[in-house]
Amino acid sequence: MIHRIVQALAAIGINSYFFGWFHGAVYQGPTKQACVPILNCWGCPGARFACPIGNLQHYIGLHLIPFYAAGVFGAVGAAAGRMACGWLCPYGLAQDLLYKLKTFKVRMPKVFSIGKYLMLIGVVGFVVYFTAEPWFCKLCPDGWIIAGLPLVMMDKTGDLKALTGWHYYMKIGLVIFMVMMAIPIKRFFCRALCPIGAIYSVFNRLSILNLRVNKDKCIECDSCQMTCPMDVAPHKSPANLDCIRCLDCVRKCPTKALTYGIK
């Protein structure tokens, strides 16, 4: 319950420029200098902060070293690994809620996890470097959900509506695809496609805060894996690259074999 409350408060707090939500304007205040450590479109009318992956692409496209974005990702990752994905990401929260719908469920093959590294190196890295265009933003479903949809709906002049075309409709298709995948598969986007998750995952084994398992207490009941929103087995691999440190497993463990703290 605390986990969900924090996720909801983070989603609201990050997008708390309510004037923008009602008037179709984009926040331009001082906090836009700061990058949030998660995926949250800076084009969203409610966004009070900048998107770190947008910032990263901006600098890669300009062929400059992205000191600030690298620093944000690295500092958050070094402190807590992928914890921001588990506690702060609104898109992660949406997927957690979609997975709760009572339908058939499917386990994603592990090989799909490579997709997020390909997205990071291929799209955010090489494609942006050589085209100087923010190609991940062009594909990002979050951008349509919290920026494209509300801003076009609130467009009073008709200028934005007039500009909608194949790209806009492709994004709608991508959003529908992501929703359809998130209902039967645990956090499909986070595990298979999110470049931010790919960056943080590298830090999961080095971070100051880490998950630990007491093998003497563990009865291998697999309740931790069943409750895990990323479908990892914390009792077998507590520093798994896909672990988002949501700590659902720590709360669920019947023998308290899992703990979280300074490694």
Partner: protein, 42 residues
């Protein structure tokens, strides 16, 4: 843990260094306009 603390210090330094180079201002100027790519508009 020592590796984590060292990494944290290095990355905090990168944030400060980026700030000195004007990254905060640049980020604000890029983030304060309607991102047409994000919205799916050409």
């Amino acid at each position: 843990m020592i590796a984590g603390i060292l990494l944290l210090a290095v990355f905090i330094y990168l944030i400060v260094h980026g700030g000195k180079l004007g990254d905060f201002t640049e980020t604000k100027s890029v983030a304060s306009v309607m991102c047409l790519s994000c919205m799916g508009i050409e």
